[in-house]
Amino acid sequence: MALRRQKGVTALLVGPAAAFFLLLLVLPLVVVVIYSFGERGPAGGYTPAFTFDNYLNIASRGQAFLNTLMMAPLGTLLCALVAYPMAYYLAVKAPARWRVMLLVLIIVPFWASQLLRIYAWLLILGNRGIPSLLELVGLEDVRLVNTRFAVLLGMVYGYLPLMIFPIYVSLEKLDKRLLEASADLGAGAWRTFRQVTLPLSLPGVATGSLLVFILLMGEFIIPALLGGGKVFFIGNALVDLFLQSRNWPFGAAVAVSIVAIMLATIAVYMRFLLGRNQLRQEALI
């Protein structure tokens, strides 16, 4: 009786989220997988079939894969490099009474839609933006939009807060007495940072990197606007395949591939993190 009641409670607790995921994630994924083995209908869309052609065809979108698989990790790395000093300042150096306000300031840009913020960059980097200023100091013909640089800039800008927050949390909860202990044992500021602060804040870096990496892998607005079709991501390929050329089966095959690559990457990454057992322990405490 008690056991049945407990099962009832479990169902109530897990049920809504499980149903949500099942209906809106698992089921659509199954549909996508099924589509990926089908054929394009005469007027686009999907015709049932069983063929591997779509997958064999993926090489034709190789550049999109290459771009995504190079730019997403690079963007994540840059994000971490920019975010860490900021998070460190917020958690360690900033006066306590300013801290909350500074954290809020970091989120403020997120109150505007991503599309708007990226459009703003388009104006800043466009010919009437920074390049026109550079012309004043004699630097002619600097092109910023429609370059990899612009896409990277947009990516770092867009996802920086997602990196700052986990690192901030891990630095903030770092026991300050560990730093004193390190100094007491003869380590100066830099060695203490390298030997104590950095290793103990790596879980935050790992969490932030995972978050940013996953989102960057699926990114399509930033490359579309700031890359101007020159820097093509898988996300852009998907938009193109589903909405423009209406080749749903091929689009499905590309989608399945990117999901598979992402899962594999995350699996390897988690494996690596679990290997660093002590860090995981720290992250949990």
């Binding site: 007495r177 100094a183 007491d184 044992l185 380590a187």
Partner: protein, 376 residues
């Protein structure tokens, strides 16, 4: 050791004050700690004892005055360059490093870095000292509180500091383990011969381990001395109350002689007192308090069995009996002395059965048991 005047002081505070904003955490502290001494800072929280310790470690800089370590003024020397090491309150072991790396940490910071073989030897030696051989690859969080404490000790001792600072090192341990570690710490200190400076709020801990105890209150040193001196000759009512328990009986000074004074307590009994608080100038008619330790008060059912020289004898009613294991504490009330406490050792039960609540007994103490202190 403390009385060994030939020893040079290893730590010297000269007029040291520390302000945090408007708050004075330490005021005008002057103190010399002899090399090889075991000194404790004792006081309630917020008395400045931890601030004093942190100024030796280099985590705080004095606002006024100078701190000397081994003859060198260290006010401007950062913590990582000072020849002292600290055992932190909750140990502050590095959670991402195993026991070996924690212990070797200090040696690994040296330049030039000692050879791996030398480090291995040193780690083995200090782990041996704290009886933790074989724990090298353990994670510190897997260890018990007592073991973590030993790792913290080993991590500090491996650097052979001139002074080992201990910030409430035993506070996190349970009572029994704390007792054991107290004895172990004391033995360890004698073996390594390093100066130990301990901070604690536990008077029993301070009295049982230290050569000298420095009692602090509101940022100031109230009294420094050997544990027995502090206990038997407290300089003030504060110390008498803080170190051990004490009864305080109000009294009036009568005739004053060269080294004793006649004090009349409220019961009308007059007794010659020859122990006084620090810097006390007594004059006839002054109000004082007589401090009498509970264990100095003898209780009996038959007044004639009190020692002949018990100058104070009062009929008292037993208000409460608290069994403490080795002792029984009685709370009593008498017309002359008001409420007071007396401690009876279990041996007294061989002569008389324990007293019951409500019983009338005679309480007595000798003149030497009383010490006159400022009434404040």
């Amino acid at each position: 050791m403390a009385e060994d005047a030939a020893r040079k002081p290893i730590v010297v505070f000269r007029g040291v004050s520390k302000f945090f904003g408007e708050v004075a955490a330490a005021s005008d502290i002057s103190l010399e700690v002899a090399a090889g001494e075991f000194l404790s800072f004792l006081g309630p929280s917020g008395c400045g004892k931890t601030t004093a310790l942190r100024m030796i470690a280099g985590f705080e800089q004095p606002s006024e005055g100078d701190v000397f370590l081994d003859g060198v003024r260290v006010n401007d020397i950062p913590a990582y360059r000072r020849p002292v090491n600290m055992v932190f309150q909750s140990y502050a072991l590095f959670p991402h490093l195993n026991v070996w790396r924690n212990v070797a940490y200090g040696l690994l910071q040296r330049s030039p870095r000692p050879s791996r073989a030398d480090i291995d030897r040193s780690v083995a030696r200090v782990l041996d000292l704290v009886q933790l051989n074989g724990f090298e690859t353990r994670r510190t969080w897997e260890m018990s509180g007592g073991q973590q404490q030993r790792v913290a000790l080993a991590r500090a001792l491996i650097n052979e500091p001139k002074v080992l600072l201990l910030d409430e090192p035993l506070a996190a341990l349970d009572r029994k383990l704390r007792r054991e570690m107290q004895i172990e710490l004391q033995n360890l200190q004698r073996r390594v011969g390093i100066t130990f400076i301990l901070v604690t709020h536990d008077q029993e801990e301070a009295l049982s381990m230290s050569d000298r105890v420095c009692i602090m209150r509101q940022g100031r040193i109230v009294q420094i001395g050997k544990p027995t001196d502090l206990y038997d000759r407290p300089a003030s009512r504060y110390v008498a109350d803080f170190v051990g328990k004490s009864n305080f009986f109000p009294g009036t000074v009568g005739e004053v002689a060269a080294d004793s004074a006649q004090v009349t307590v409220a019961s009308g009994v007059s007794l010659p007192v020859n122990r006084f608080g620090e810097n006390m100038q007594l004059a006839k008619g002054d109000s004082v308090v007589l401090a009498v330790r509970p264990e100095q008060i003898l209780l009996t059912r038959s007044a004639e069995s009190l020692p002949q020289d018990s100058v104070v004898r009062v009929e008292s009613r037993v208000l409460n009996r608290i069994f403490l294991g080795e002792h029984t504490e009685y709370l009593l009330s008498s017309e002359g002395l008001g409420e007071f406490a007396a401690l009876a050792p279990r041996q007294s039960e061989l002569v008389e059965s324990p007293f019951e609540t409500g019983e009338i007994v005679t309480a007595g103490f000798r003149a030497e048991a009383a010490q006159a202190l400022a009434a404040d």
